[in-house]
């Protein structure tokens, strides 16, 4: 076991962790944005945004961590994936710009207030769809030739599968957003969130089934991985736990639990993420580029690893601190900073 062999695995885990943190944490903020049209009025929309206003920036930073981590640890994967998905990346970034500045501008605006409400909603929805699309396109695979992506077409990422994962993620983030609102609000707004949760859950389960049954047909190697002994043994807990998770979530919503739905939705995402990642492992750009081929040298990976080992626990500690500072229900009239 040499550093060349171990370090890429460690970095795969770190970047996987960063992406998962992003999906979970910005997932619920983007989910709130997707759900704003279901609010009764502007006051409720303000209330929804206020539940996330102090923390959205830190949450979004995990995306930058994923991007910078990929560039540092797997520069070849970074340059292949980002340049191949040029237009979806552009759309995602522009959408995130509108989503982000909506937080700052909506509370400063008067006449143009509605513009930032729309920007928050549309920005969140498009950013989510693009993230799902990007995920789908990567999982589906990017065939390489001579180390470069074979397709030069600007729309090579367009496929039924990537469209499906795009829509699936919109439902998924919306579920996270709804259960977050259950946790952080009360009264009428919490009721709306409760009412949204079950239809969203049904949607998420349906998309999970669709994606899961589609996956093995994308690549015969995936088929072998899922349906041969002994990998079947290692992987079988994922669908079993997902089923159990769905049942628990359903029950928690029926019982009007406040914390459980959000926690179980997070678990749902973790399981889905594990399912996807175990499907592409040990590739970083399916179908052929492995983490060892894409890795930067041990001197690069080792250098950042030192920092990551110290800083990621610190980041988690002050993230936890900030969630503690802003714990509890967010009052309907708690204003933005003014």
């Amino acid at each position: 076991m040499t550093a060349e062999h171990v370090l890429p695995v460690v970095w795969y885990l770190i970047i996987g962790f960063a992406v998962l943190m992003y999906v979970l944490l910005d997932g619920f903020v983007l989910g709130i944005g997707i759900l704003t049209p279901f609010a009764d009025d502007d006051a409720q929309r303000d209330h929804m945004m206020n539940t996330a206003a102090p923390i959205w920036d830190g949450n979004e930073t995990w995306l930058v961590m994923g991007g910078a981590g990929l560039m540092a640890a797997f520069p070849r994967a970074y340059s292949i994936v980002l340049s191949a998905l040029y237009l979806p990346m552009l759309a995602m970034l522009i959408a995130l710009i509108f989503r982000g500045i909506a937080f700052e501008f909506r509370f400063k605006a008067r006449r143009s207030r509605w513009v930032w409400g729309v920007a928050f909603n549309v920005g969140s929805t498009i950013a989510t769809f693009m993230q799902g699309l990007i995920l789908g396109a990567v999982v589906e695979g990017m065939p390489l030739q001579g180390g470069k992506y074979v397709h030069e077409a600007a729309f090579a990422w367009f496929s039924p599968f990537s469209m499906l994962t795009g829509v699936a993620l919109v439902f998924g983030y919306a579920l996270l957003g709804a259960t977050w609102l259950i946790l952080k609000t009360d009264g009428r707004l919490q009721r709306i969130a409760f009412d949204l949760t079950r239809p969203l859950m049904l949607g998420v389960i349906a998309f999970m089934l669709l994606v899961s049954s589609w996956l093995p047909f994308l690549d015969p190697r995936l088929m072998t991985r899922w349906f041969t002994w002994p990998s079947f043994l290692y992987l079988s807990p994922v669908p079993v736990l997902a089923t159990l998770n769905a049942a628990l979530l359903w029950r928690a919503v029926l019982r009007n639990e406040e914390l459980q739905p959000f926690m179980l939705s997070l678990c749902f995402f973790v399981l889905g993420f594990l399912g996807l990642v175990s499907g592409i492992w040990p590739n970083i750009v399916p179908p052929t580029l492995t983490i060892w081929q894409a890795a930067s040298p041990p001197s690069s990976q080792g250098f950042v690893l030192v920092g990551a080992l110290f800083m990621i626990p610190a980041v988690l500690a002050y993230t936890a601190y900030s969630y503690r500072v802003f714990r509890g229900k967010v009052a309907a009239d708690s204003g933005y900073h003014h």
């Binding site: 970074y78 340059s79 340049s83 710009i97 509108f98 500072v325």
Partner: protein, 456 residues
Amino acid sequence: MFEAILLSRLQFGFVISFHILFPAFTIGLANWLAFLEALWLRTRKDYVRDLYFFWLKIFAVSFGVGVVSGIVMSFQFGTNWAGFSTAAGNVVGPLLNYEVLTAFFMEATFLGVMLFGWERVSHRTHFFATCMVALGTLISTFWIMSANSWMQTPAGYEIKAGVFYPLDWWAVVFNPSFLYRLPHMVLAAFLTTAFVIGGISALYLLQGRFEDKAWLGFKSALAFVAIVAPLQILVGDATGLQVRENQPAKLAAIEARWETQSRVPLTLFAWPDEAAERNDYALDVPQLGSLILTHSFDGTVKGLKDFAPADRPPVAIPFFAFRIMVGLGFAMLALAWWGLVKWKRGTLASRWYLRAWLWMMPSGFIALLTGWFVAEVGRQPWVVYGVLRTAEATSTNVPASSVLASLIVYVVVYLLVFGFVTWYLLQMLRIGPVRAPQRRAIRTAARPLSLGDEEL
């Protein structure tokens, strides 16, 4: 039709020029806020706290735009500059990753406490959050300047099959130009903010509004500039010596020097003709060039003709941008030192002097941008100086039509965002540093024995 590389360069230049305005402003502003909050904790004067909250609101909006336009930057290296990321990702990637790990998370998390935590944490903790945000901006500057300086003066690496491999991280991080360019950038950011604070305070003084707060802001800015502007000129001079040593072609372009000579004149103004390799309408001061650039009257400065035409940077942009930057630097110095004289004489409130500060309000931003034009255009035709050409750094599989589309989208969206930011900032200026919120007594209900304004 445009080529993808030209479009990618235009796009990168545009998005980074837009982006840098906001972090540069917020680096200074975060430290100004830390200063104000410390002052308030010591004095407990209401007007200091009101001023803190006024600048905090401006900080929030500027920081927000800085964050969202910064995310674009971190993906741009992959989308448009895949060749660069593949070749230099081993070196530049870890530096950027350290920036995220040590600065971005800290800034973003404590910003939340700073903006929303006033009623939830103690005053001391709130001050701590402000300091963490300020520290975060400086740590971020450290890493991004290290990465950029490495591209200017690469060190500590070897090249195998066209890919950079780091050999010595100490040499990479503390590359030859880094310790000059880091303070140059930090001081530039501080000056940028100082001129905004001074300009806005001057505006209120001219209007006769918020006088106690405006005087605090104005005198702080004036005293700060009076110390930092000369310091910046010294740092800039040292940076120039370093450029002469490490990037002679860049220096030749900055000074529009065609022939290698000793006792070179200083060209105050000229119209550099790149095709004819000469300057038209030159206004030269004999020998001063050698004195400034080499610190001796007969020092030698390399000319552009010593470099193959394919290795020369464009001349006009570095030449003019440098003159604007330096001119503004001396104007800042003159304004501040004249202010010291007026301060001593007790005539600081004269209307024309306040108006001069109002006019100088954007000077920091302009000096900063022109300084970056010098640094980045002067580095051409290289992306990693002397090693990797910009032409080899692009994404080969992205069609020009995609880049054209993204360029148009960025220009439209950023102009829109810029327009709205300006509009909201003007609105905040119109309202001004009014009375800040008192700490609500929300916590006291649960603890009936505690005092209304007690620290938690």
